[in-house]
């Protein structure tokens, strides 16, 4: 059975009536699993007809992105101006075909430590909005992802949106892969500078079971520099910051790379992101 509801309430109801229905957004993870025989859905709930999920809006400095908005719409245009790091992360996802279909809801649904949007959501302390049978619940992204490909979503729930603060200072994303495009990350990082609350937040992808916030490095940086502006960040501080971020990573060795390289690479890109912040 294929369901294609037009409203969130309808969609939630369908999941009540047919608990085996599997949620399909852009299908770029879903269909790969079907093709590999890792998933054999008997019924599918498609989100594409729910207009509300395919839009974004901005109110009082909070940006709300529908869970089924494709990456292509984050890469350029007004949303990219408000959230440059998200735009950069979106640009690194797959190929144009994948970016025309793939969504944040799907990236969160899969919860891979290599998911490219996730470090951005972590660095921005995003809130995940979830529709449930009884209404809605809100959750910090750091509580959402609980392990590699595991999250806090319960059966019958649908991610409807992600809420993020608009940028107030430098933000950037960087991803290491062996190929110059269309590659799964080996290490990635997002850095967000907020001059108002004098903070730099840094989240790392693919170097642990979940996305990792480099909290200790962030704290150290806050003590070293006055982050009301980026002007006091020196090259030496950038290098030390990168080293400390690397220390907080928990990478593994697999067929894509080694733990040693991942730790090294994440140090290099976090230090470079801070250099870019200082130069901004």
């Amino acid at each position: 059975m294929i369901y294609s509801p037009k409203s969130i309430s309808n969609a939630v109801q369908i999941l009540q009536d047919d608990p085996d229905a599997q949620i399909l957004s852009g299908g770029t993870d879903f269909m790969v699993e079907v093709n590999f025989g890792h998933r054999a859905p008997t019924s599918v709930l498609s989100l594409r007809a729910i207009k509300e999920l395919c839009t974004w809006s901005q109110q009082d400095g909070v940006i709300r992105i529908g869970s089924a908005l494709p990456y292509a719409q984050m890469e350029t245009g007004p949303l990219a101006k408000l959230l440059p790091a998200l735009a950069q992360a979106a640009r690194t996802v797959g190929s144009p075909q994948i970016r025309a279909a793939g969504t944040l809801g799907g990236n969160l649904g899969t919860s891979s430590p290599a998911g490219d949007s996730l470090p951005v959501l972590y660095a921005l302390d995003a809130t995940i909005i979830i529709a449930t049978a009884t209404g809605e619940r809100r959750m910090a992204v750091k509580d959402f992802m609980v392990g590699p490909k595991r999250n806090a979503l319960s059966k019958g729930e649908i991610i409807t949106a992600v809420e993020l603060p608009a940028s107030t200072g430098y933000q950037g994303y960087s991803k290491v892969g062996v190929r110059n495009a269309m590659v799964i990350s080996i290490a990635s990082a997002c850095l967000v500078h907020n001059p108002i609350d004098r903070s730099v937040r840094l989240a790392m992808g693919t170097v642990g079971p979940t996305i990792i916030r480099a909290s200790a490095a962030e704290k150290w940086l806050g003590e070293e520099c006055d982050l009301a502006s980026a002007s006091s960040i020196t090259p030496a501080i950038c290098a030390e910051f990168g080293r400390r971020c690397g220390d907080e990573s928990q990478p593994i060795t697999d067929h894509r790379s080694t733990a040693e390289y991942r730790r090294h690479a994440v140090s290099v890109i976090t230090s470079r992101l801070l250099e870019r912040c200082a130069a901004s």
Partner: protein
């Protein structure tokens, strides 16, 4: 009447378009995976999950019970020869007592739907006694492990002993080189449709392959049918690169079709494809070069170890190519070479574009750079000083009779302008790290590297790989018949170009490519332009002679005074007697021609003998940008001058050059099948990385045209050379940029920065 001087379209030397170009771009070309027949079943293969195991039992009862399953077959159901293979028949059609590599076929099913087949495979119970796999090639050489196959663990050893065995050069350089396992990664996975004859007396197979006749022989033997009862028709081929030389699903699909008396289609997924064909041999090569202090190469010592995996495939020929090419395109009098192709429980390896020479070239070019450094000369000069010429002897004692413009290839490559330097406004997508935005432009370093290679063309060691073609002219139209596999290389473009040029007729048709005519040999070894081109040329020339004879007879002229020029038959003073179209109105001429290359010989135990047919040469210069801190690379430009003999189709040629360079780049920096203890870890395009458009460099190509006296059209094969020396050139450029002595490909980021 004077001869019309209009320029003719699509003759030799022009960029005639592929006849299938437009349908391919529009998605209308029927690849083998698009084959379909009324009432057809789907076939599927159960493969070994283990690298090495003894089969204790196979229970297919549950699979038979599934609705829609028509047939389940094991080794017991193979009616003919239980094994097949290109050189040695050592690979079971279906495993019987042992499985020797991960992915080895064990059971076949046919069902009404791919999903039915999937369920049937899941229902089959195979009990294995898992054994410790042999994965270290050295253990196959020292015979320290019991044979994993009745034919033994050593597939072939070949030495080359020439000249002074104790000679020590004034300058000696040494290195240990290693190459990972590359996949051909053609885009059209294995696919075939088998149609049984009524009563099971024969079978027709539509299949994507490189050599119809060789397949037919192997299939017929396994099916226990006479060869003429097995008819093969070429299905649309989506690339080959050597991976379609060995049998994959050919015998399987025929077995299922004959057993069920229904058409059976088989098609591999990408994942299955990684297990369904042979790969490029991983190799470990030690070399020691001896030279005078001014850089003249005197002696090469080498030890070459190639891991053939579980079955022999073409390993013995790949090894011969490797050991006979260790000197590279350089003069060298003395040699001590020891080469081994061994059997292990790793995935079987066989033919891939470059066929053993890729491995040798990566090592000898690394050595030439070491030599240049040791002698204080530039990489270009060391190669020029030693460049081989026509008349030089190889370390096998064979004299190079072909054109050998090695120095010219190097000089012309050196003349190609360098790419502009990177600036702060260079597109971020064009610097290392690309869309990942990892690079800080000020930290990028640029390097330049060189690679030059020699490649044998056609088959070696006494093999007569002839090709057959028939040319028929009727009413001013030409039809050509041959069994030459078109795998994307462009013979379907070239053959009509030859016919138009020779016959002066514009309308040329290609008949179905099948086994309804003699063999064309394999579309491999850069050989079809030379071999099948020679056959088509020969057949067309015979027909041209007949047409002229006919015109001469009708007009009472001496045929030796007539020839075809443009679209006319002209006399000695160049005056048109009659157009060829007019001369063939209402008439039919048909001739078949077999083209054979000059014979070759065997190698003796010292590796001496005239074993190769012909040679082609090429030079590559790579410019790369490297992010030394992250070990990420962007190949900026490849400059190349290739010895092609004669350019027959500039567009086709550029396609081969650019494609080969992309494939060589893949081996240099990203393409590798990762095998751990016999298990393939990355059988998908998610993790087996091929270069994308953002990874591909600018290619600036020049062609050195010295027509080869032995080539029927003056043209050499151009398919393999582009991918051979580009790999060492890129690695040399990375070494130049970073100072890191990289001796293994693909170069991984951690090899550069850790």
């Amino acid at each position: 009447m004077s001869v019309k001087t209009r320029t003719r379209r699509d003759i030799l030397g022009t960029s005639a378009l592929r006849p299938d170009a437009v349908p391919k771009v529009q998605g209308k070309f029927a690849f083998s995976s698009d084959l379909w027949a009324e009432n057809m079943l789907w076939g599927a293969t159960l493969r070994s999950p283990h690298a090495y195991a003894r089969i204790v039992s196979i229970d297919t009862t549950a699979a038979w019970k599934i609705d829609g399953v028509e047939c389940v077959l094991t080794h017991e159901d193979v009616p003919g020869k239980p094994t097949y293979g290109l050189i040695a028949s050592d690979q079971p059609v279906l495993a019987r007592d042992f499985v020797r590599y991960m992915g080895e076929p064990v059971v076949l099913v046919a069902g009404d739907h791919p999903e039915t087949c999937r369920r049937a495979l899941a229902a089959i119970k195979v009990e294995y006694e898992v054994l410790e796999p042999l994965v270290d090639p050295e253990k196959s050489i020292d015979l320290s492990v019991p044979p994993i196959h009745p034919d033994g663990n050593l597939i072939r050893r070949q030495q080359i002993i020439r000249g002074d065995q104790s000679l020590i050069g004034e300058v000696v350089v040494e290195g240990n080189y290693e190459l990972g396992m590359q996949d051909q990664a053609f885009l059209g996975t294995e696919a075939a449709l088998a149609l049984p004859d009524p009563g099971g007396t024969g079978v027709e197979l539509y299949v994507a392959t490189q050599w119809l006749h060789e397949d037919r022989g192997q299939i017929a033997a396994c099916l226990n049918l006479p060869e003429d009862k097995v008819r093969l028709v070429l299905g649309g081929v989506g690339g080959a690169f050597g991976a379609r030389e060995d049998i994959s699903l050919q015998v399987h699909s025929c077995l299922l079709a004959l057993r069920t008396s229904r058409p059976v289609k088989m098609q591999y997924s990408r994942q299955e494809s990684f297990f369904g064909h042979v790969h490029r041999h991983p190799a470990r090569i030690w070399m020691r070069h001896h030279a005078t202090k001014d850089g003249r190469l005197l002696r090469v010592e080498a030890r070459v170890v190639m891991d053939g995996g579980a079955y022999a495939s073409t390993s013995s020929a790949v090894l011969i190519n490797a050991v006979t090419h260790v000197q590279g395109p350089y003069k060298c009098e003395h040699a001590t070479v020891d080469g081994y192709a061994v059997r292990t429980n790793n995935p079987p390896c066989g033919a891939m574009r470059g066929f053993g020479v890729v491995q040798a070239c990566f090592a000898h070019e690394g050595q030439m750079d070491k030599l240049a450094l040791a002698c204080g000369i530039s990489p270009v000069d060391i190669r020029l000083i030693n460049a081989m010429e026509t008349g030089d002897r190889l370390i096998t004692g064979q004299t190079i009779l072909n054109s050998a413009p090695v120095a010219q290839c190097i000089r012309e490559t050196a003349e190609i302008p360098m790419p502009p330097n990177m600036t702060n406004d260079t597109d971020v997508l064009a610097i290392p790290g690309g869309s990942g935005l990892t690079a800080t432009p000020s930290k990028i370093r640029r390097g330049i590297g060189w690679g030059v290679s020699i490649k044998n063309l056609m088959y070696s060691e006494g093999f007569d790989d002839f090709s057959t073609a028939r040319c028929t002219v009727e009413d001013g139209r030409v039809s050509l018949k041959f069994a030459t596999s078109e795998v994307g290389q462009g013979f379907v473009t070239l053959a009509p170009q030859i016919a138009r040029t020779v016959l002066g007729l514009d309308e040329v048709f290609i008949e179905t490519i099948d086994t309804g005519i003699g063999s064309a040999g394999s579309t491999s070894a850069s050989r079809q332009t030379w071999m099948s081109g020679g056959a088509v040329n020969g057949a067309c020339k015979l027909v041209a002679t007949n047409i002229i004879a006919e015109v001469a007879k009708m007009r009472g002229l001496d045929p030796s005074t007539l020839q075809i020029q443009g679209t006319d038959i002209v006399d000695l003073s160049g005056n048109a007697v009659e157009s060829v179209v007019a001369a063939t109105k209402g008439k039919r001429f048909s001739e078949t021609y077999e083209f054979h290359h000059q014979p070759t010989g065997e190698l003796d135990e010292n590796g001496q003998g005239d074993c190769h047919t012909a040679f082609a040469f090429v030079a590559h210069r790579a410019v790369v940008d490297v992010d030394p801190d992250l070990g990420l690379v962007k190949v900026v430009q490849i400059a190349t001058a290739q010895d092609v003999g004669r350019v027959l189709n500039p567009l086709s040629l550029l396609g081969q050059v650019e494609g080969g360079i992309a494939q060589g780049l893949g081996l240099a920096v990203m393409e590798e099948i990762i095998v751990e203890n016999g298990r393939v870890r990355n059988p998908s395009f998610t993790d087996y990385l091929l270069p994308t458009a953002l990874d591909a460099p600018d290619v600036i190509a020049r062609y050195v045209e010295v027509p080869d006296p032995y080539a029927p059209l003056g043209a050499k094969g151009v398919g393999e050379p582009p991918c051979i020396s580009v790999t060492p050139a890129i690695v040399a450029a990375i070494r130049d940029a970073t100072g890191v002595d990289l001796l293994r490909v693909p170069v991984r980021p951690q090899d550069i920065c850790l």
